[in-house]
Symmetry: C2
Subunit: 211 residues, 2 copies
């Protein structure tokens, strides 16, 4: 029997290091599949369709939602964001785990979906709000107004920390990376995530019978 | 708020390496407390009261059971075995995890007790029955009859593998040891096992309010 892939949900306020951690996890485990979100927002300089996001018109996005092709979706700052379902289901059936870099709204929807029992959810907290703001400002790409909006969103995001299975405080990126790997490695050792065990134990029983 | 200690249950047929693994875990984490079982069986050469077991008369053992001082107990090969409750509760309140080297009967009783939600249970399988028997015989202390009895008990023990949270196949002791450490480290990162997080997030919220 094939192992069903896990849905690994990583959430955090922006600036807490989530995207860097997601990249490091992807580099560590080449079997991991990253769930590229669809969005109606305009691409930023350097962003590429299908890499950072699938950039879609509002009409195209709404059609995907209407046809049940979104695992989760939500509106943030007037734009829609969502996770297309098809690639996730394909990965699960292949026994590959999918990594989601999404916010609490998406996390909540996936946890409450029929795929909820395959979810491992991890929330990454910043060591302090001062540090969070410093990291946001150091990107130097956004206006004060945009930063203020992001900080308000961060406060809302953090208020959902207690809905996650695991919580990390990212005060050291290497340590947080190691912790994520530990969580993922342990979750894969759960009995109900190792379908081959049944066959293995049947083999042991045949050995007992043959003695 | 103080973290409540975990109850880590390690079960396996004898000869699967469980006791060696338990010793290695204890050496790795000095905060871990080993639950010494009480038994009515006679000490074997080299065994010491309070180290391998608390050796008790049947009357003393039955008194402990009657007074609710046993977290779990069972009869195996005509002898009683059980885990005294007092030291476990003391460790939990101190925030220390307790390691139990017990069989499926004990595991089942603790999982179904009021302490069940603090349990992390791990079953260790041998790579093969031939290897299990080889390890049992290499101890060279027991008669053929005793070995046969142990092998029958092993078969019964293995039949309960699917009641455990995690399952390992011990075909390499160092690898199995690393896996156990990974499981324990991850379980300690679960949100509901980190009571200090609430206070930490209250601190972040105060920082938001002060901006």
């Amino acid at each position: 029997m094939k192992r069903r892939g896990l849905l690994i949900i990583l959430s955090s306020p922006s600036g807490a290091g989530k995207s860097t951690l997601a990249k490091r996890l992807m580099a560590w485990d080449p079997t991991l599949r990253f769930s590229v979100s669809a969005t109606t927002r305009a691409p930023r300089p350097g962003e590429e369709d299908g890499r950072e996001y699938y950039f879609r018109s509002r009409a195209a996005f709404e059609k995907m939602v209407a046809e049940g092709e979104m695992l989760e979706h939500a509106e943030v700052f007037g734009n829609f964001y969502g996770s297309p379902k098809g690639p996730v289901q394909a990965a699960m059936e292949e026994g590959r785990d999918t990594l989601f870099d999404i916010d609490w709204q998406g996390g909540q929807q996936i946890r409450n979906s029929v795929l909820g029992k395959d979810v491992v959810s991890i929330f990454v907290l910043p060591p302090s709000i001062a540090e969070l703001e410093r990291r946001l400002r150091s990107r130097a790409q956004d206006s004060d107004e945009v930063i203020a909006g992001r900080m308000a969103k961060s406060e809302a995001e953090i208020s959902h920390w207690a809905e996650y299975d695991y919580v990390l405080v990212n005060d050291d990126l290497d340590r947080a990376e190691a912790d994520l790997k530990t969580i993922l490695t342990a979750e894969r050792m759960r009995r109900d995530r190792q379908p081959d065990l049944s066959g293995f134990v049947r083999g042991l029983n045949r050995e007992f019978d043959a003695r």
